[in-house]
Assembly symmetry: C2
Homo-oligomer: 332 residues x 2
């Protein structure tokens, strides 16, 4: 890699002159400025970023800690984060906690040594279950800003970007009751222990209560055979006339099982799931989905964090990104 020193030596001028010339300082004469720039271009000089980071005490890099990236929600969020980062000349260092606390702690620990200017994260399932927050507080105490999205720890004071989990489920349930006149709506949940899972279930329950209906909840925590579980439940509870899945898998499985039972969608049973890009392609008939604006969540998160880093008097805030109910065309 070419350095200022090398350029200076070749041109037989001082390092500082070279530096100033490259930074278009008016102190430097037109002639030497072009002379320097030409050589720099020729040798493909690029300022060493590590040196700049050391000098400026800023890395222009954000640590992104995700529970997983094979879940399409987080993949899509990451996409949004990356785009916003690029547009603001930031890089991202990505760590995956694999839903474990110790990996999350390790990543925060390792990156909080000057490697990054801030963190964007969704907390791991394990930490949320065990209500462990010390490692998060430690980062806050060390003055490195954190932005949490989706899965959030209320006790930690930091910027947050969240989804309207309660509201979206309330509205979806209400829709099924009022517009489609469903009376036996089954909620399928495999994330009951997450903050978002609880909120979604509460939204569903509230809507039912407001209409004097009884909840039906099928919990599939780490169920080995999702298909079988859903199939069995549906054959034993023939009255079910609508299903809401609060993840991106079980809704599609439910559609397949309903068809297997010889029932018609949407005539006999309505199905609403969570989904993102390709979800609707994978089911027939197309599943109705609560579409979380994952990409936007990522984008907003990065923007808010950068603001928090670069603004002097930044005030902590919590942004809610509303979901959208995408009804499949076929739902009557």
């Amino acid at each position: 890699m070419t350095t200022l020193k090398e350029l200076a030596k070749l041109l037989d001028i001082s390092i500082s002159t070279v530096s100033k010339a490259l930074n278009d300082s008016h102190e430097i004469s037109e002639s030497t400025r072009t002379r320097v720039k030409e050589l720099a271009a020729e040798l493909n000089y690029r300022p060493n970023r590590i040196a700049q980071q050391l000098k400026n005490n800023k890395t222009k890099t954000i640590g992104v800690i995700l529970p997983t990236v094979t879940n399409p929600f987080f993949a899509e969020v990451l996409h949004g984060i990356e785009m916003a980062a690029t547009n603001n000349d930031y890089d991202i260092i990505v760590c995956l906690s694999n839903e474990t606390l110790h990996k999350e702690e390790r990543s925060l620990e390792l990156l909080s040594n000057g490697s990054v200017d801030g963190f964007i994260m969704a907390v791991a399932r394990e930490g949320q279950v065990k209500k462990q927050t010390k490692h998060l507080q430690a980062i806050i105490n060390s003055k490195i800003p954190i932005l949490m999205f989706d899965r959030v720890v209320n006790e930690i004071e930091c910027d947050k970007v969240i989804v309207d989990d309660f509201q979206s489920l309330y509205e979806a349930t209400q829709y099924l009751i009022e517009k489609e006149h469903r009376k036996h709506i089954l909620l399928v949940s495999n994330i009951e222990e997450l903050s978002v899972g609880k909120l979604r279930t509460e939204g569903y329950s509230k809507a039912l209560k407001d209409h004097n209906l009884k909840p039906h909840i099928l919990k599939l925590d780490n169920a080995i055979d999702v298909e079988e579980n859903i199939y069995n439940y549906l054959s034993k509870n023939k009255e079910i006339d609508a299903i809401i899945s609060i993840d991106h898998i079980t809704g599609i499985v439910a559609i397949n099982m309903i068809k297997k039972l010889g029932k018609n969608i949407p005539k006999d049973v309505s199905v609403i799931g969570f989904g993102y890009e390709h979800t609707q392609l994978l089911s027939s008939p197309k599943i109705s989905i609560i579409h979380q604006k994952a990409h936007k969540i990522g984008e907003m998160s990065m923007k808010l964090l950068i603001d928090s880093i670069s603004t002097e008097d930044h005030k902590l805030q919590t942004i809610v990104v509303p979901s959208e109910l995408n009804l499949s065309g076929s739902t009557k």
Copy 2:
């Protein structure tokens, strides 16, 4: 952030003594060593990584450039890369090219200023179509090692980790012909312009040729309505008795369309697709898949690249990671 300088000042000893003490140098007396370490622990001292990087002229960071991360294949590869990185005390900076050449070029350009010790990448679709390789060669020329996986540019001399695209399709096709006695096998492809798409198609064609059968190929380049396209094709070509999809979507769509046409799977039509973690969950009956060891690909890539960085006399190599044909239980 606490620095060596601060520790030295507080203890009233020199910076270098502190540095040596923390690094367990035998030059330093037991007593001062513990004195230093205690204070360091108390103030939560952590060596500034940027400074270390500058000093060592090594970042212990790898630039990872992916076309997208919403495709589960790349998501899974990223997972493997991240794990291997963590296990080897490396960080990863992730960039997404969004399949565009200019973003790929930009990312390489920006990170090749000392930010990373090497790159792991799968080239963007656009670059592969336009056969642009200058930006890649430029990186190689600047002595920064590149490891390419999956989508590979033959002309560039670098380490490579690839999938047995030709072989896996040959074997899957052969299986359908010999074991399931299929004679009209349809290949559904939406990645014909990628190196991997070509290889897969060639494997399929070769197997058919070896058995004197005629190929049927349905190209869906950017087709707006995949469902409709497949449905129409199948209703016009009733003789089709097997389908191979070379991506992770259209296989499942095909299953749904076959059922819609009132045919039985696998009795009337066999279906094999590409898939990863959850793919088989989403179809009923479960789709047979060619399972690419995406996680392993990521892991191997990182290991090989690190070897190339840290070994003096590293020899370039190309590793082939075999796929696995996962037949669904229901296939007879």
